[in-house]
């Protein structure tokens, strides 16, 4: 399995900046190189779900 085509580098740079991260050029290169995997993960995750598909709740309301 080869490394998938990365996202556009400018997109990666903008997202890293938005996250407030200060990476060296070499570190940005590495995030950019593997960014295609992220896109593949999101493609597989998809967004085609029924409107009523709520996430699982992790709490129960109980009397104190």
């Amino acid at each position: 399995m080869s490394t998938p085509e990365p996202m556009p580098r400018v997109q990666v740079e903008v997202l890293l900046e938005r996250a407030g991260l200060k990476l060296s050029p070499a570190q940005v290169d590495e995030v950019h190189r593997v960014s295609g995997y992220v896109r593949d993960v999101l493609t597989r995750l998809g967004s085609d779900r029924p409107m009523e598909a709520e996430p699982a709740l992790t709490f129960k309301v109980t009397a104190p």
């Binding site: 995030v31 993960v41 996430p55 709490f59 109980t62």
Partner: protein, 477 residues
């Protein structure tokens, strides 16, 4: 270094407990034995980040005095254990194996730390972990990574790496682990120990450094299922300070251990062993043989139609990375290079996700919980391999590797189901193999009961790594 092969072996928790109760073994003697074994073997294993020898001796003496005075607290009184170094310990350094927390000394115990202390355990020290419970082994953190006692050239698995290594080497009788994507089950498999990832909400996580709130579980690791049951009994219970904690009745886990499997319906997830991401042949053979043993014990076997393994991976990856990023964002902004390369490179990828991606992952999780529940409707437990194969070499960071195959363990973090992992054999090279026994939500006792029956019917618990102080270690009968 002296030849430590002459050192006595450590008993299991259940054996030691019986001997201590009968006053045939002193907690002080047992603690000294563990400390001698740590001194002899741990320089090659690196399973401990900190040995609290003085505190352990003091606790052992106190336990001995209490037991002599007729004040025995229960089966864990006087039993030496270790804590994964993400469990807060009041006044004792808790580092998450990271430079970021290298000087961190909590002013409060984690709830589980306190519960195990109250049960009378003797804390031997803090155990190695992958940095913040993700992304090891790392060679650029302040302490070296733990190594596998079956072969020190190999990884012990992780992230509860020190726990797995220390138990297999007989340096502790039991330990705590945490599991967000397989971090109890993976080292349990690679080190041939028993590891329990309880149902989500059964064990408090208050005071345990988090990785991803939605998927984090705390649980016990030990040499046998029975020992895990003893530890879990002390660890489980509702905690109002943990928003994920469940208010459920805690069963008697040890009483639920079984000697046969008559009438137990076992679903085998064969499809996860096959196809594009097939497990290695020796793992497949070991699980098939284990299923045969379970049939011999009376189990009714069914081939289970679970969702595709690859359906679980994207939701798990997005949740774990996004939540870890949120937890560490502020520190990543100011101290990026104080994290090891493996941690920071993994978690940084979350910056490429959107808020909608995280919500889609949480929605996918609910769908997978429902599909899994439907698949399990007519069975009592499921069985599947715990890893694709045996332990692999201790290598540096490969950013591509994590994406190349879906995890066999992550599905049960997403679904929150209880999983007991047990050794199910060895490769021709003498490396351990492991199997997951999965129960229904809060069916922890059932999963442990089935795993115990299997474990008792096999010879795997009689096999320990052969350790030589000052020499290369190897797998051995």
């Amino acid at each position: 270094m002296n030849d430590a092969t002459a050192l006595p072996k450590v008993p299991t928790i259940a054996e030691a407990s019986r001997l201590i109760e009968a006053k045939a073994l002193s907690p002080v003697e047992l603690t000294e034995l563990c400390l001698k074994r740590i001194e002899a073997f741990d320089p090659k294993l690196n399973s401990f980040l900190l040995v609290t020898a003085n505190l352990a001796r003091k606790a052992a003496k106190k336990a001995e005095a209490e037991i002599a005075a007729g004040k025995r607290r229960g089966p864990l009184h006087g039993i030496p254990i270790g804590l994964k170094d993400i469990y807060s310990t009041k006044g004792i350094r808790t580092t998450a194996h990271s430079k970021v927390l290298a000087q961190h000394v909590p002013d409060k115990d984690a709830v589980v730390t306190a519960k195990l202390a109250k049960a009378g355990t003797v804390l031997l020290g803090k155990l190695a972990t992958h940095e913040f419970a993700i992304g090891g082994p790392s060679f650029d953190t302040p302490w070296p990574p733990a190594r596998n006692p079956w072969n020190t050239e190999l990884s012990p698995g992780g992230s509860s790496s020190g726990s797995g290594a220390a138990i297999a080497a007989g340096l502790v009788l039991g330990a705590t682990g945490s599991d967000t994507g397989g971090s109890i089950r993976n080292p349990s498999t690679f080190c041939a120990v028993a590891g329990m990832k309880p149902s989500y909400g059964l064990v408090s996580r208050t005071g345990i450094l988090p990785l991803a709130f939605t998927l984090d579980h705390a649980g016990p690791m030990a040499w046998t299922v029975e020992d895990c049951a003893i530890l879990l009994q002390a660890m489980a219970g509702h905690d109002k300070a943990d928003p994920g904690s469940a208010k459920v009745k805690i069963p008697d886990f040890r009483a639920a251990l079984r000697h046969d499997l008559k009438g137990v319906r076992v679903g085998v997830i064969n499809r996860w062993h096959e196809g594009e991401h097939a497990v290695e042949p020796e793992m497949r053979q070991a699980v098939d043989a284990a299923v045969g043993t379970m049939r011999g014990l009376g189990a009714e076997l069914r081939d289970l139609a679970m969702p595709d393994l690859a359906d679980f991976a994207p939701a798990g990856r997005v949740i774990i990375l996004t939540e870890a990023f949120a937890i560490h964002q502020k520190t990543l902004q100011s101290r990026y290079n104080d994290y090891g390369e493996r941690f920071r490179s993994s978690v940084t990828l979350a910056a490429l996700f959107s808020a909608a991606d995280h919500m889609q992952a949480l929605r996918a999780r609910r769908q997978l919980i429902e599909r899994t529940a439907a698949a399990m409707a007519d069975i009592d437990v499921m069985v599947v391999a715990a890893a694709p194969g045996p332990a692999t070499k201790m290598v540096g960071f490969d950013p591509d590797a994590a994406f190349k195959r879906p995890s066999l363990t992550m599905p049960f973090n997403l679904t929150g189901l209880p999983v007991m992992t047990v050794c199910c054999g060895f490769t021709g090279d003498g490396l351990p193999l492991g199997m997951q026994v999965i129960g229904h939500p809060f069916g922890d006792a059932t999963a442990m009961g089935v795993a115990h029956a299997y474990e008792r019917a096999t010879v795997w618990r009689s096999r320990r790594p052969l350790l030589f102080a000052g020499a290369a270690m190897s797998a051995a009968r």
